[in-house]
């Protein structure tokens, strides 16, 4: 690097220096607000610490307890894993479906694009409260409509079998945000490919399967990674509506982390929990990235 720097002419050096100076605010922010907290969490994961008194080094005890003697950890992991498995495919498929609809050349489409995007910008707490009202078993709008259709609605958030699907349903409602990203991907697909396929007599389904989907795979890959991380981080809905219940059916990992850190002030154990979640998310992302070589097609390839 030093040799490169020496070989540069003064103008190139100046440009490079300006570039590094421009990067500096981000680099400092990344160091202070990301690297240092993660580093501190790794260290604190080996301690017992209640914040107001000095941490005590306990080696691997937190991790040993987590994997061998903490049923709450396994329950939180199970519930979160289930939520990811239910909500992630639904969000990807419905987001793409919505984007395909919003990509139709119809009058007033911008209005619909805006309407479907609105849920993505509303506060999570407000959305949670709204869904509580909608899904209230006795007086909620959804069950009232079902009642008039002759269907007895479920207990939704207050039924152990329905609570997790109810939270998944809520998360699907915000699918307009990802639809906008799919839409950008769809609009980048060259129109001449469709024209050529149409001249060759390709059906709508074949055009979708052979042109749209392959050329949309970079967007799908991006969405998969983002939604995967987002699904693991589910918290607000459980915190506001169910508090992890009933019978721990919505006891998500971050809710357990929150209770451990900010209600029981068990910061050492909470740090260990955070590190384990980071490893899980990182592993899942690396796996998705590894498989992407087989199914993601870039235009330049």
């Amino acid at each position: 690097m030093l040799a490169t720097w020496r070989n540069m002419n003064p103008l190139a050096r100046r440009e490079a220096a300006e570039g590094y100076i421009s990067l500096l605010p981000w680099a400092i922010g990344f160091l202070v607000f990301t690297v240092m907290p993660v580093g501190a969490s790794i260290v604190l994961g080996f301690t017992r610490w209640n914040i107001v008194e000095p941490p005590v080094w306990i080696g691997l005890d937190n991790y040993v307890r987590m994997f061998t003697a903490d049923p709450m950890f396994w329950q939180a992991l199970k519930v979160t894993g289930l939520f990811v498995l239910i909500s992630l495919p639904l969000k990807l498929v419905l987001g793409l479906g919505l984007a395909l609809l919003l990509n139709l050349k119809l009058p007033g489409m911008n209005f619909f694009r805006t309407v479907f995007y609105i849920p993505a910008v509303i506060s999570g707490v407000a959305v949670s409260l709204m869904w509580m009202w909608l899904l209230q078993p006795d007086t909620g709008v959804v069950n009232t409509i079902l009642y008039y259709m002759g269907i007895e609605g479920p207990g939704w958030f207050w039924d152990r079998n329905w609570a997790l699907p109810s939270v998944a349903l809520m998360s699907i409602w915000k699918v307009g945000g990802s639809a906008i990203i799919y839409l950008a991907g769809l609009q980048n697909i060259p129109a001449h490919l469709y024209e050529a396929a149409e001249i060759d007599g390709a059906s709508r389904w074949r055009r979708f399967w052979r042109i749209t989907l392959p050329l949309l795979t970079p967007t799908l890959f991006f969405q998969l990674v983002i939604e995967l991380i987002d699904s693991f981080k589910i918290f607000t809905e459980a915190f506001v509506i169910t508090q992890g219940g009933p019978l721990r059916s919505t006891y998500f990992y971050l809710l357990y982390f929150y209770e451990t850190a900010f209600q029981n002030f068990n910061m050492g154990y909470a740090s260990a929990l955070a590190i384990v979640l980071m490893v899980i998310i990182l592993s899942a992302t690396v796996f998705v990235n590894y498989t992407s070589k087989r199914w993601v097609y870039y235009e330049a390839e």
């Binding site: 107001v52 209230q136 207990g155 207050w158």
Partner: protein
């Protein structure tokens, strides 16, 4: 020459004046005080109190910082943890902060005007004393009690409950008052186990010495408490958890349902009581019911611990402000200008509605033994309760039969014991 002498004299006078001013300024000690806005004391009332104190104490200036309730907790936790930047005086309402509170016993002993005898004994024991040290002064009081709507009782031709009622009476009254046609419920259900009614049954989640769950969580007293709840839940006379969550108010109690006349009895607090007075509701107050055949009575009551930070550089001045704020002057001021219910019997006796029937009933609740007495001495209760919460959910959701209560509690003993053991290890035994 004269002018020169005059100038020199003037210069000396100016230096003297400036020095005096600087010394005076240095003598004034500033006390940092963090607080929050609440229904009991809003921002303006607290600013007025500070102004009054500052005027009466020219050598101490209190600098009030008002924080939102959530931000207050975060800033207190982080500054106390960092060991710097914490306020001299503040509410220490999270028990985890109490190791960082100054022991004020020496200051109290030197204070001829203030001592434990000035406060309700129960609140002093639960909020001022921690680990045998005096960590603060209890400011204000609150309690839960059962409020009943006299109009709903009268319309149903049902006698009002009396202070010596039992849980069986509660369920019987609730069933008599519930009316499906008018969608009226008889009474609400507790918001958690091991609160007043559980203690009235003599039930505890684990042993007094914090070692054993077996024989406590699943004791005959615990089984009886949960069975009473089972009876209430299955009577149809109480709102479901979903109803309470949606139609209640911010988890503090179903005050809206009560005001609407759709709930005949509700376990509420003194803040709700003031709401009912404003709304012109015809109501009465009784303590939470005792177990059948038992004399035990407890109240779910609370107060706020006002403390001095251990790291303060001005402990004496901080004590001056603390004893003013949470002492008779401050509590009288906050009662008269806000809605504070004082933790000092002498001050409370001057409450403008002290002679009313509801105030007298409320004062009696304040004298009852408190749930917090056991809870504060047992910091692992929360962890164990969280681990065994399935029993509460199963009964509340109507998912077990009445004769399955014992087996359910038995099955949760190992989980509860594991949580207790872990908590004890974490807290250093």
């Amino acid at each position: 020459m004269k002018l020169g002498r005059f100038s020199l004299f003037g210069l000396l006078a100016a230096v003297f004046l400036l020095t005096t001013l600087v010394v005076s300024a240095q003598d004034v000690v500033t006390i940092e005080w963090w607080t929050v806005n609440s229904e009991e004391f809003d921002e303006q009332v607290q600013r007025d109190l500070v102004e009054q104190f500052n005027a009466e104490h020219p050598d101490i200036q209190v600098n009030m910082t008002l924080l939102p309730a959530s931000g207050f907790d975060e800033r207190m936790t982080t500054t106390l943890g960092a060991g710097q930047g914490a306020p001299d005086v503040a509410f220490f309402w999270i028990n985890n902060w109490l190791p960082q509170a100054l022991d004020i016993e020496p200051y109290l002993e030197a204070d001829p005007d203030l001592g434990p005898e000035n406060y309700f004994e129960n609140f002093w024991n639960t909020r001022a004393v921690w680990n045998d040290t005096v960590v603060g002064l209890p400011l204000g009081v609150g309690a839960n009690f059962v409020i009943y709507n006299k109009d709903v009782f009268d319309a149903a031709g049902v006698e009002y409950p009396t202070a010596d009622w039992t849980t069986e009476d509660y369920n019987a009254l609730a069933s008599q008052l519930a009316d499906e046609e008018t969608r009226t419920w008889g009474g609400d259900r507790p918001r958690g186990p091991y609160r007043a009614i559980w203690y009235n049954y003599g039930a505890k989640v684990y042993s007094d010495d914090s070692t054993t769950v077996d024989g406590y969580l699943n004791s005959p007293e615990s089984v009886a408490s949960y069975t009473w709840l089972w009876d209430l839940v299955n009577s149809g006379a109480t709102p479901t958890p979903a109803d309470l969550e949606i139609l209640g108010t911010e988890g503090t109690g179903p005050i809206d349902l009560f005001i609407a006349g759709r709930l005949a009895m509700a376990t509420l607090n003194q803040g709700h009581m003031l709401n009912l007075i404003d709304e012109g509701i015809n109501f009465g107050i009784v303590p939470e019911p005792a177990a059948p055949g038992s004399e035990l009575r407890h109240a779910n009551a609370w107060s706020l611990t006002a403390s001095i930070w251990k790291g303060t550089e001005h402990p004496q001045e901080a004590y001056e402000w603390l004893s003013y704020w949470a002492g008779p002057e401050g509590q009288q001021f906050l009662m008269e200008n806000g809605n504070l219910i004082p933790s000092m019997p002498d001050v409370l006796a001057t409450y403008e509605n002290a002679d009313t029937e509801y105030a007298q009933a409320f004062f009696e609740v304040l004298e009852l033994p408190q749930v917090a007495q056991w809870d504060n001495a047992h910091p692992c209760k929360g962890s164990v309760m969280s681990a065994v919460s399935d029993a509460w959910d199963l009964v509340n959701l109507g998912e077990i039969e009445r004769d399955e209560v014992q087996a359910t509690l038995d099955s949760l003993v190992p989980v509860g014991q594991a949580a207790l053991d872990e908590c004890l290890t974490r807290l250093g035994g």
